[in-house]
């Protein structure tokens, strides 16, 4: 294992390492006192933030010369909120699928928390995925389960007991604003609510890294703002967030780091610093987004 950077591994994979750092009292701290020995990523923020995601010349060829991604090299550090933008087929989803290890790179390296994903054997993939939160454009909820059970399932797979789940879920439901929808089935919810359930499920186990593939693709602008606020809040609480989107207007207004892709190549990688924006609260962000859309 290429775990030369021990701190990054501990920070990004609390479930795998035995570290038990006390949760720091920033933002909604209660959500980090989950069933798992949650180590707050901020608790040990060093001068140089650790590399959560690292692509080194990663390429992906699909079959007959179809290029999914071409020699992509970038680093995403802890607590960053990064947007991947570009038209359909530009490689955003390929990056996401590489990160959840649904596919393997044809060339190059993909590291998460210092660990080369190629080195994770097949039967260990589920354990790796428990350290990721994943949100999709089409929500991917379990249609036969209620909101509560959908979110609980993400904890059940980790072997959490019913008691632990009952202790953890209310905070997540409150954070995502779903407390009143507990016993609804996905088909009874609006698109925005379904996406909130998906985010709640992705965040239920407090993963250090959250991936969102076009999370607002199916939603109207106002609902999208709500979803973005939610992702922003999760990011502010210490989770690294990567969002793929083709809504460049929204991405620009978020004033975060943007990696732009075109035909599998990275054509722009703009750090958030260039916006020179100060840290906003979640409410401020929402207000500004609404103002700028109008």
């Amino acid at each position: 294992m290429a775990a030369t950077d021990a701190t990054s591994l501990e920070a990004a994979q609390p479930a795998l390492s035995g570290s038990t750092h006390p949760p720091a009292a920033s933002e909604p701290s209660a959500i980090f006192t989950g069933p798992r020995r949650g180590s707050h990523p901020r608790a040990q923020a060093s001068a140089r933030p650790a590399r959560v995601v690292e692509f080194r010349g990663a390429s992906k060829l699909y079959g007959a010369g179809d290029v999914g991604l071409e020699r992509a090299t970038f680093v995403i550090r802890r607590q960053e909120m990064v947007f991947l933008v570009g038209p359909t087929g530009s490689g955003k989803s390929t990056i996401m699928r590489l990160l959840i290890k649904e596919i393997e790179p044809s060339e190059g390296r993909v590291r998460v928390a210092g660990r080369d994903l190629c080195e994770i054997p097949r039967q260990k993939i589920p354990f790796y995925r428990r350290n990721l939160g994943v949100v999709f454009q089409d929500f991917k909820l379990l249609p036969t389960r209620t909101v509560y059970d959908n979110i609980a399932y993400a904890l059940q797979v980790t072997g959490a007991s019913r008691k632990q789940i009952r202790a953890t879920l209310p905070e997540i439901l409150r954070l995502t604003g779903l407390s009143t929808k507990l016993h609804s089935y996905p088909h009874q919810l609006s698109g925005g609510e379904q996406q909130r359930v998906a985010i709640a499920r992705a965040f239920a186990s407090h993963p250090p890294l959250l991936l969102a593939d076009e999370p607002t693709g199916n939603l109207d602008p106002e609902t999208s703002i709500g979803i973005m606020q939610l992702l922003y809040r999760i990011n502010r609480a210490g989770t690294t967030v990567i969002i793929a989107s083709h809504d460049s207007g929204m991405v620009d207004r978020m004033r975060r780091r943007v990696i732009e892709l075109r035909r599998g190549r990275i054509v722009r990688d703009e750090a958030s610093g260039s916006y020179g924006g100060r840290e906003e609260s979640t409410d401020e962000l929402g207000e500004r987004l609404r103002r700028e859309v109008a």
Binding site: Q123, F127, R129, K140
Partner: protein, 297 residues
Amino acid sequence: MRPAFFLKESLRSMRRNVVPSFAALASVLVTTLVLGVFIPVVQATNGAADDVRKRVLVDVDLLSGASAATVARVRAELQGAPHVKSVQFVSKQSGYERQRKLNPQAFALIGYNPLPDIFRVTPDRPENSGALRAELDQSSPLGVRLVSDPAIAAVQNRQAQTDRIVSATRVIKITMALLAALLVIASVLLVSNTIRLSLFSRRREVEVMKLVGATDWFIRWPFVLEGLFLGALGGAGAVALLAVAKVTLVDPLANSVRLISRPDMIGFPLLIAILMACAVGVSAAGSGISLRRFLRI
């Protein structure tokens, strides 16, 4: 916690998928039922065919007036010959008594015993009766008969009858074997197809489970348990129907119709055990194995 969780999951999924679950249950029930009827039928047919084949004999007639020593010598020779399964001696006298009982007038008319001492030789396999006859009664190309023992007058194997028995029973056995193979293949395909269909409708669910980090067995166990339940229910239904049929139809006839009840036929308890094991095993294993396709994410 885990077993209870899996149990609850499988019950939930059966409740939420009533129609596919019922389809799986019904297909298990029907195939088990057909299998349950077919196993005894095949056995009875094969048993009947074997009975007929046992009647293939080679008669060895001795010259009249053979002494006890000659009879003993020929018996030893016959028992040592190839393709011989058993040798039965029918003395002149006992043959006469039996025939006279069958046809008293004719034998009263004859007034004496025309029958020779006979050895009834059963070949090891019916197909070998010709070879056995040739062994005992070799005709040379010159027409001189070379009987293996001077005391033997003739060797008969009732050629036409034997041929008919051998070929007819062979056709029956092959037909039954083909039918049985066809039935087993059809049952497995039917059950696995039903399982595949119900799994296919839930493949997205499986995909989502994999994406939130569920291990293969975490996803698989509820499906296997579900297959186990449905298989057991379907099997139990089929067995109940078979029991009803046995009590109402087969048992009253068993004494009068020899075909239905044979001493070497499978017992009902054993039949039930086999059917239940098949129903449960195939559906549980089928669910688990069919799922593999959808777990490759």
